[in-house]
């Protein structure tokens, strides 16, 4: 297969050695979980339990509303102690959440029906199962999967790309999942291919994950329609549009979606969740996260119930409140969000918690003038001109910003990584997007 490439991109330090050889461990049932009703792109779910109700693990507690939304399920068994706005790691303001206090017994919901013989049903039935299980994209954006699997009729989709790139530094959860559950991942992939009636599936893995490639290859060689594509390690290789460009040399048009070029991209974690939901009948109540970084004595990859508080996870992993200044990052170091308080829950889209000792902390206001060096233009994977976007946003000239297409920005952070003046280019572009959307 020919190898293509996307323009730009960077090679940040990988920092994966700390956790890449640690197998996935079950995280003990926490005392309480906080399950936000809005963990996904789209409308928040509506609570269908009340304060004082007894719930079991896997029971649906929030019903999706509207076209783009997802169900939420309790991840442990116990009592609903409260439904109130709670800290949220992404929105940074309190968002309605259901708090479940554990009874310590971790009762699982009774599985009524499994769809192991999914090919006997219609694709619509299977999409319903996935919707019922509350599955969202586990790569980070948390877009409801059942919506992604129901593209407009006129779009013809011919290829499924399964994204196992994991280009973010530090994170190893997808890597481990591919090594330990390759069979389930490929089975989930086949379910997606059945739903969309496509006959070409490609698992895309970066060349720094030798073990994962080997594990997937062992399963894939039995599957006639599925192949493995090894791509160069480069950030942001795992970004949807860049992935399609690299593997298939198709360019998603500006403002378009992958199905505009006949492709659907799913994360390996999502594929695993689809397998669990369809074949085992289990809703999405847990996910694998990487806990790594400084001050962590017990790093690793853990399968954590969704809604577990960061403070519980960190103290289990040997983190103690430190004297030295440090950051707690939800997600990877390139695109993750640093948290001010530890009393925040893990969401479906959270891929890791990274603790970072910050020796040279740079605050938002401390940056130099742009020296026009053009490094950001060279590395931008969307081939934008971040220097001008940043410059005009700094001076609040939003209309000027528009000429440089801020809405095409995928916020990968390559520009800010390379910038010698340490300008907060991504934030400037985010501001431009925000002000332009308000008009």
């Amino acid at each position: 297969m020919d190898t293509f490439n996307f323009s730009g991109g960077i090679h940040p330090p990988e920092l994966k050695n700390q956790t890449k050889d640690l197998s996935i461990k079950e995280f003990p049932v926490p005392e309480k979980v906080v399950i936000p009703l809005s963990q996904h792109t789209g409308a928040p779910a509506i609570p269908i339990v009340q304060k004082g109700d007894i719930v079991v693990a896997g029971q649906k507690i929030g019903e999706s509303q509207g076209k783009i939304s997802a169900n939420v399920h309790s991840s442990i068994s116990g009592e609903v102690v409260d439904i109130l706005p709670y800290n949220h790691p992404v929105v940074n303001k309190p968002v309605p959440a259901i708090i479940v206090k554990s009874d310590g017994k971790n009762f699982q919901i009774e599985i009524k029906k499994t769809y192991w013989d999914y090919y006997r049903y219609s694709p619509q039935d299977i999409i319903k199962v996935i919707q019922e299980a509350g599955i969202v994209g586990l790569g980070g954006a948390a877009f409801p999967t059942h919506v992604k699997l129901s593209p407009p009729k006129e779009k013809e989709i011919d290829t499924l790309l399964l994204n196992g790139c994991e280009c973010e530094p530090c994170l190893t959860c997808d890597d481990r999942l591919m090594q330990e559950n390759p069979k389930e991942i490929i089975e989930g992939m086949k379910i997606i291919m059945f739903i969309l009636n496509i006959h070409k599936g490609i698992v895309v893995i970066e060349d720094n994950k030798k073990n994962a490639i080997e594990a997937i290859n062992k399963i894939v060689f039995l599957e006639p329609n599925i192949s493995v594509k090894i791509v160069k390690t480069k950030y942001p290789q795992g970004a949807e549009k860049q992935l399609i460009k690299t593997v298939l040399n198709r360019e998603v048009p500006s403002g378009g979606l992958p199905f505009d070029v006949g492709v659907i991209v799913q994360n390996v974690g999502t594929s695993y969740a689809i397998y669990q939901a369809v074949v085992k009948g289990l809703p999405l109540t847990s996910r694998v996260i990487t806990v790594a970084g400084d001050f962590i004595s017990n790093p690793g990859n853990y399968r954590v119930p969704i809604g577990t508080l960061a403070s519980d996870i960190l103290s289990y992993c040997g983190y103690k409140p430190e004297e030295k200044p440090h950051k707690i990052i939800f997600g990877g170091p390139m695109m993750g969000i640093s948290q001010g308080i530890l009393d925040v829950p893990i969401l479906k889209g959270t891929s890791g918690i990274i603790v970072q000792e910050s020796k040279n902390i740079q605050f938002f206001s401390e940056y130099d003038n742009c020296i026009h060096c053009g490094k950001c233009v060279d590395v931008c994977p969307m081939e934008l001109m971040p220097n001008f976007l940043s410059y005009y946003a700094e001076h609040m000239l939003w209309e000027k910003c528009k000429e440089f297409f801020p809405n095409d920005c995928i916020e990968c952070g390559c520009c800010a990584y390379e910038c010698p003046a340490k300008r907060p280019i991504v934030q400037h572009i985010k501001l431009a997007k925000f002000y332009l959307s308000k008009k």
């Binding site: 323009s7 960077i10 940040p12 330090p13 530094p169 549009k241 460009k245 360019e251 998603v252 048009p253 500006s254 403002g255 409140p321 004297e323 030295k324 200044p325 440090h326 950051k327 707690i328 990052i329 170091p333 390139m334 695109m335 993750g336 640093s338 948290q339 001010g340 530890l342 990274i354 970072q356 910050s358 902390i361 740079q362 938002f364 130099d368 003038n369 020296i371 026009h372 060096c373 053009g374 233009v377 994977p381 969307m382 081939e383 934008l384 001109m385 220097n387 001008f388 440089f404 297409f405 095409d408 952070g413 800010a416 990584y417 390379e418 010698p420 003046a421 340490k422 907060p424 991504v426």
Partner: protein
């Protein structure tokens, strides 16, 4: 709440590249040229370079103190300006004139516009242009290397059709000709440029299009192209001045347009204009076109119609 938890914006890791390191690379790239000038002009070169560097740094410091701006002396850009200004001055220029040039470079060429990043013109060349019009006699006083005897530069000889013999191309390449401090030794300039290329601080688009277009136009105007690229400040201008990031276009296409413009203007001034040398003014003129060039050479973005 834990006071030691810090919230900042993504990305949380950044490259070690800073403006200071960029400028340090330029200074390192200047070292071969400096050594060549020490070799050819002895103490004159040392005095001139130190005076220019001292006055640029002092001006930057004082200006930022008076205007109460953030002090940016640490980013070393004033040092670079000082060195580059000294490179384009005649070796026996009185130090007070050189000092005034450095003060003008930093104050009017850079700080008035808002400091590093906002200057529309190359500060070192602004300083040189200022000296050229204010003290034309001193700025036209050239001496030969080693012995310091008054002699005309090859460009002046060819411009005024003087009776002196032109040096051969090998001497021009080594730098054994009369001329400004840093412009004579082409081999030293190429060494410095190679370092900058290796460190990815410059791209070859501008220097190549500059030199090629200068050769093409001198051919059209029936002049010797090799003579034109080996004399005067063309190499220094092409590799050190026209590659200054702040005042030149950002895209590769823009850099090529910029280089072509510089090359054409340089040869036009040399052959048809009133001055024997045109590098300084051609780059300054093209600096003015940088915003327009940037505007017409926007990169084609991902997913747009190509």
């Amino acid at each position: 709440m834990n006071q030691n938890i810090i919230v900042t914006i993504s990305p949380h890791i950044k490259s070690k590249n800073t403006i200071q390191k960029v400028m340090l690379d330029v200074i390192i790239a200047c070292i071969p040229v400096m050594l060549a000038s020490f070799y050819f002009y002895k103490t004159n070169a040392i005095k001139l370079i130190s005076a220019c560097v001292f006055f640029s740094c002092a001006t930057e410091y004082v200006f930022q103190k008076i205007t109460k701006r953030k002090n940016t002396i640490n980013d070393l850009s004033a040092v670079v300006t000082g060195i580059l200004l000294a490179f384009c001055l005649p070796p026996k220029l009185p130090l007070w004139i050189a000092g005034l040039g450095a003060i003008f470079s930093i104050a009017v060429g850079k700080q008035i516009f808002g400091g590093i990043g906002y200057n529309p013109f190359n500060p070192a060349l602004i300083g040189r242009a200022f000296l050229q019009v204010s003290w034309p006699k001193e700025m036209g006083y050239w001496t030969s290397p080693f012995d310091g005897i008054t002699s005309a530069t090859p460009l002046t000889i060819s411009k005024l059709n003087l009776s002196e013999k032109l040096p051969d191309f090998f001497d021009m390449f080594l730098g054994n000709i009369p001329g400004s401090l840093g412009e004579t030794s082409k081999i030293a300039i190429i060494l410095g440029a190679l370092y900058l290329l290796m460190r990815k601080q410059i791209k070859l688009y501008t220097p190549f299009s500059y030199i090629l277009s200068a050769m093409v136009l001198s051919l059209i105007l029936k002049s010797n192209p090799v003579f034109h690229i080996l004399t005067g400040g063309l190499f220094l201008g092409a590799f050190f001045m026209a590659t200054d990031p702040v005042t030149t276009p950002i895209t590769n296409a823009g850099k090529i347009i910029f280089g072509i413009g510089c090359g054409f203007l340089t040869i036009l001034i040399r052959i048809k204009g009133g001055f024997p040398e045109g590098v300084c003014y051609s780059i300054l003129i093209m600096n003015m076109f940088t915003p327009i060039i940037d505007k017409i050479t926007k990169v084609k973005r991902f997913g747009s119609e190509r």
